[in-house]
């Protein structure tokens, strides 16, 4: 709110909305053309992260908040990534043991 004057009003929301729709169409398109699995996962995760960034930056105004609040919000997301990569080796081991 303190730096509200930087916001472009409704226009920036319409642009964000349009981009979110474009990315969603891309996501569904990638699934329908059936690319290799690794490429599919990488591209879909990248697109999902792009959508998340758009929503947080513009819809949730994080771009216009003070940096300290941005850090508070973004840091736990890295914990989520660590959580996944901490557990994934175990999962892959179990999978390999079963074969």
């Amino acid at each position: 709110m303190a730096e509200g004057q930087h916001e472009g009003g409704y226009r920036s929301y319409i642009v964000t909305w349009a981009w979110l729709l474009v990315i969603t169409v891309l996501e569904v398109g990638i699934v329908l053309v059936r690319v290799p699995k690794v490429l599919l996962v990488l591209s879909l995760v990248t697109l999902a992260l792009m959508k998340a960034a758009l929503i947080m930056a513009y819809f949730m105004h994080l771009r216009y908040e003070r940096l300290s609040l941005v850090y508070v919000v973004v840091t736990p997301l890295f914990l989520g990534v660590i959580l996944f990569f901490g557990l994934a080796p175990d999962a892959i081991n179990t999978f390999l043991l079963r074969r």
């Binding site: 979110l20 908040e65 994934a88 999962a91 892959i92």
Partner: protein, 206 residues
């Protein structure tokens, strides 16, 4: 009001020196952010559990042969649109355009209801095909378990969000709340959309 506090802060020194409002937002908004951060970890836990399970099993039903991807895409579309209408309501509240706030809060709640309706339809079909929480015809029990638990958790959040939006609508209509409260309701609603981005990608597409 807030800008005065912010200026005071800047005068006091660095952003990290604390003071009365180290994040330069009001406490209700800060509390909502902290709630959303902890709720993010709830979903991170659920989705990580799902990912680990899939990696462990190594085989999984082909989702787009089971789910109606068209319907799920429509649900995604509705949720993105309702996020956009919510953003409009927040700007309108800040500009003091009371009528537009009411219109767009209702539109947003309507989007949420459409989403929930589509989800009820999807669940009903899925259950008719034989899916239960711990068993299903596709041979991998974890498939339906993760689906019901994760989409159920999200659906619960959408239901709560619709109620929250309607309460915000009523309180706004009676002049009981400030524009900041609309913005805080908006944060919650965008979060619900944000979580769906990952559920849509990880549960339906990958």
């Amino acid at each position: 009001m807030t800008s005065g506090v912010a200026e005071h802060q800047h005068a006091m020194g660095s952003e990290w020196s604390g003071g009365q409002s180290p994040f330069a937002v009001g406490w209700p908004k800060l509390m909502m952010w902290l709630f959303l951060v902890s709720d993010t970890l709830t979903f991170a836990g659920l989705l990580t559990g799902y990912g680990v399970m899939r990696l462990t099993l190594g085989k999984w039903p082909v989702q787009f042969q089971i789910f109606n991807i068209g319907l799920v895409s429509l649900m995604t579309f509705i949720l993105i649109c309702s996020s956009a209408t919510m953003a409009v309501a927040v700007v309108a509240a800040r500009r003091g355009d009371g009528r537009r706030v009411r219109q767009f809060l209702l539109l947003t709640a309507l989007g949420g209801l459409f989403f929930l309706g589509a989800q009820v339809y999807e669940w009903t079909n899925f259950i008719h095909e034989g899916a239960r929480l711990f068993t299903n015809p596709w041979g991998i029990p974890q498939f339906s378990a993760t689906f019901f638990i994760i989409t159920g958790f999200h659906g619960g959040h959408v239901t709560g969000g619709v109620i929250y939006l309607l309460i915000t609508y009523l309180r706004w209509a009676r002049n009981r709340i400030q524009p900041e409260s609309v913005e805080i309701a908006g944060l919650y609603w965008h979060f619900v959309d944000l979580v769906w981005v990952f559920i849509f990608t990880l549960l339906y597409l990958i």
